[in-house]
């Protein structure tokens, strides 16, 4: 259940209406905030995948587990 909630929360965070009409602040002086947000969001996905792999890995599917 926690995994489903985490995925649903991240899916919802894709719809970042709070930065919809804003270009500033420019991160590193040149990256519009909306683009920086989605770049950071992509890294957050990698983190979520790492958590899912560690906590919800479907090990039962692995034939090696049955040998």
């Amino acid at each position: 259940m926690a995994a489903v909630l985490m995925v649903a929360a991240l899916y919802a965070l894709h719809q970042d209406f709070w930065f919809w009409r804003a270009a500033r602040p420019l991160v590193f002086g040149f990256l519009p905030i909306g683009l920086f947000y989605h770049a950071a969001y992509t890294l957050a996905i990698a983190l979520l995948m790492w958590v899912l792999v560690r906590t919800h890995w479907p090990a039962h599917l692995d034939p090696a587990a049955h040998e």
Partner: protein, 540 residues
Amino acid sequence: MIPAVVVFLYLGVVLTIGLFAGRASARKRDAEDYFLAGRSLGPAVFLLSLFGANMTAFSILGASGHAFANGIVTYGLMASSSALIIPLSLFVVGTRLWALGKRHGFITPVQMFRDRWECGHIGTVIFAVQAVLLVPYIVIAVIGGGTTLRAVSGGLVPFWLGGAIVSMVVMAYVFFGGMRGTAWVNAFQTVLFLSFGTIAVAVIAAGMGGFRQAIEAMLAAPSTAPLLTRERVSPWYFFSYTFIPLSSIAFPHIGIFCLTARRLAHFRRTVVLYPICMLAIWLPSVFLGVIANRAVDVPAIAAKLEARTTLAAEGPALPSGRRDELRARAAGDDVILALVQGYAPLWLTALLGASVMAAVMASDSQILALSTMFTEDVVAFYLGARRARDALLVQTGRLFVVALTVVAYLIALSVPQSIFDIATQYAFAGYSALSPLLVAALFWKGSTRWGALAAAVWTAAAVLAVAVLQSVVPAPPPGAAVAVLTIGGVEVVTRAASGAQVLGLLPVVPMTLISALLMVMVSRWTPASRPGAATLARYF
């Protein structure tokens, strides 16, 4: 001329890799080895080749072209949504596909559907829908190969010859190397993509005198400031793009790639690193596409901006032919090439040429997938297990690779590219609409073959309807929308400059939701067709 030499060198390298892979598997020539590399890919090749199979010409050229016209929204529309949905679908669906393939010897998704729903000809219908949606990608790749070779050689290599050379190279390493050759080449191409983005950003930044000034200038100009926000796109339209990456796992070549991993554990690194690979390729592509709007000192880009300005000022008053001409001139698919030619040294232009070639050659896995499907889902299925021996299947697969390449090449020479642009645009939506089949097969005991048939037929009909609508109703000027179907005063179907929309959403949303609904409802109406207990026990 140097870029052309580098591109030919690149073609020689991929050919060598493919042939070497073919020799590596020469000792064991069964169908599983040829079509799935003997289910033996290691973690690094599995990640890089799976990622490479998902990246098409669109990733570098299309992404920057879209960003040139639409701004930073491109990254959120296409990259960050895919970075979430694709690894998640590999985690949830891909791992199960792999386990079932390993346990029951499946080579294609249709083999699994036939076994899971105890059906024969319905599997053939699903094969046909998948195959028809895949062919345009293969033709587009031939066109892309011919166009790129012509461009990098300064017109010395004509389109017909360039297309033929690229087709022959791809055909040769798929023919001899099978899945192993394709995977190794894809892995090499992905490394090339990953290295290009960072280098290109650094070199172009230096050439433009830094990005700070360019961005500040864009913010100061009313025509370019909106490109740095998402104010021109509605939140609903943005949301509907999250349905597109559902197509990835339903693409047969991705489903088949899932079966090639040696161990289930190889998926672990792939799902974690996949978003990072997306970031490494898409962020530079999108940013460079946006920043190209300030590269007015590059003549090719200045001409595009001028065409865009004319279109915006006089668009509604112009005849549609003139509008289409201006739209073609303003299109940004080659904007990254123009940027590199304008600011980068020759060696980087050459490297870009090779990267572009790598992108357009991503059709290798699609050619192999179609050959695998034809051999396993049609030939082996209708011949029967006794007559369909390994040697015969491998030879059939190879013959199909040759035949498909020749047909794709001949089509590419005779049919306008715009037709295939439309077809590929809606093939994504079609594969998204097929994703409920996979989910139902793997996770819902109550699903039946009739539910699967309903979803497949609906997908084919919906893709056809949207493609016809798109080609029959001409595109209005940017910002306008033509009502095609109005019910009770509500504009249900509209035609905007970017394509058809349903209630302001991309067609993929209703297509996928209705497909899922049909799967559920028709399965519930046909409980007598549920597979027997023995079949269900193999899956749940």
